[in-house]
């Protein structure tokens, strides 16, 4: 999982607003170069991306497809990889008869038992599986302890309240700190591995 949060741990304001992020996924990449590299390398380590139904409907696929058309952009390597990598949308209601922005060419719908399906994906041979959001999908993955590694990018802003991704956990989840890094743009990376026992 790679996700952006505020200092107080929110991934969005109560209404879903994320315009407080230093880089709000736009075409102008306002992160320090070193952080861009971390993000690109992490994305390149994956050969499967999980997205939420809402992200599929709101245009995640089309957005990065469009960004990958400009090969001069610093975003190109990331956007191109996201575009060609198979995406998995977990949904029990969505079907491919419903058109989504960017189309279904690189995306599959998976339905049924959430935990079983995710574990099945994880047990297949291949590289890493990556998830960036959204809030409900990530919360469910965290609750079921299905995320192995957390890359939390802390923006230098406190929101006061908002959407949390850990609020559904029943017991505390202990982690091992793999590394932390600070970047000149003000972001801090906290990289953790979930302790499973």
């Amino acid at each position: 999982m790679e996700t952006q949060v505020s200092i107080d741990g929110f991934i969005a304001e109560p209404d879903g607003n994320t315009n407080w992020m230093i880089w709000n996924w736009g075409t102008d990449w306002t992160w320090a170069n070193e952080l861009q590299k971390h993000h690109t390398d992490l994305t390149l380590s994956a050969d499967c991306i999980l997205i939420s139904r809402q992200m599929a409907e709101e245009g995640f696929i089309a957005h990065w497809k469009q960004a990958s058309e400009n090969s001069d952009s610093p975003l190109f390597t990331f956007a191109h990889h996201v575009t060609k990598t198979p995406k998995v949308v977990f949904s029990n209601t969505l079907t491919k008869s419903v058109a989504i922005p960017g189309g279904w060419d690189t995306a599959e719908i998976v339905s049924g038992n959430f935990i079983e399906q995710i574990n099945q994906l994880k047990s297949k041979p291949g590289k890493n599986i990556l998830v960036y959001g959204g809030a409900t999908l990530v919360s469910s993955l965290i609750k079921e302890r299905l995320i192995d590694e957390f890359h939390i990018l802390v923006n230098p802003v406190a929101l006061g309240n908002g959407l949390s991704i850990f609020k559904t956990i029943e017991d505390k989840q202990n982690m091992i700190l793999l590394q932390s890094k600070s970047f000149s743009c003000g972001m801090v990376l906290l990289q953790y591995k979930l302790i499973t026992d």
């Binding site: 200092i7 107080d8 741990g9 929110f10 407080w20 965290i142 957390f150 939390i152 802390v154 230098p156 802003v157 406190a158 929101l159 006061g160 309240n161 949390s164 991704i165 850990f166 609020k167 559904t168 956990i169 029943e170 017991d171 505390k172 989840q173 202990n174 982690m175 091992i176 700190l177 590394q179 932390s180 890094k181 600070s182 003000g186 972001m187 801090v188 906290l190 953790y192």
Partner: protein, 199 residues
């Protein structure tokens, strides 16, 4: 003007205590480097701010640690450092913010009963060393809202606790910060040091 610093233990998901004040998620086995960080952070402090709730536990605890002769095992170096720290916590002047208490029965502690921001400004304008706050949640939330904290030192513990007491929830609007640095320690804690952006 004296600087006001905040030093708090916080979970990955932004809580400084569990719903009922639990602190069992905090990493207590600290490595030498983080103890040095804490010691440096507190070196120029001569005033500790706290709410009444924290004071009731904090002040008697450090008094006992600092005055109980069985704790003065200064022949062991580590114990001696712990004792020095206890002594500092006991002897440093405390200002306890309360609306309910009338008189302080504690040593080295005075009460502040007026408007929080006014009281803090008065303290900051006095000559002296720096001022620090460690908690608790209600007091720190009010303190953050005043906008008078100059340095935030958030000790991010490697654990998510799901729900608990937050400290930024009283903000009326977003508060931007400048990142000073983030330091990771062997014990698993990352200390993130921020300064608030002021207009």
């Amino acid at each position: 003007m004296r600087k006001l610093k905040l030093q708090v233990q916080i979970s990955i998901d932004g809580y400084i205590a569990g719903v009922n004040g639990e602190l069992d998620w905090i990493t207590w086995s600290l490595d030498k480097a983080i103890l040095k960080y804490i010691s440096d952070l507190n070196k120029d402090i001569d005033c500790i701010l706290m709410g009444r709730v924290l004071a009731e536990g904090f002040i008697p605890h450090w008094k006992e640690e600092a005055t109980d002769p069985t704790k003065k095992r200064d022949f062991v170096k580590e114990m001696s450092e712990a004792y020095d720290f206890a002594k500092k916590m006991h002897e440093t002047k405390k200002v306890v913010f309360t609306k309910s208490l009338k008189d302080s029965t504690w040593e080295n502690a005075v009460l502040a009963t007026g408007d929080l921001a006014t009281e803090i400004m008065t303290l900051k304008n006095k000559p002296g060393g720096d001022i620090i706050a460690y908690g608790g949640a209600a007091f720190v939330s009010s303190l953050i809202k005043t906008g008078l904290i100059d340095e935030f030192h958030l000790f991010v513990n490697p654990v998510a606790i799901g729900k608990g007491m937050a400290i930024f929830k009283e903000l009326d609007s977003k508060q931007d910060f400048n990142l000073v640095r983030a330091t990771s320690f062997e014990c698993g804690i990352v200390v993130i040091h921020y300064q608030p952006k002021r207009n």
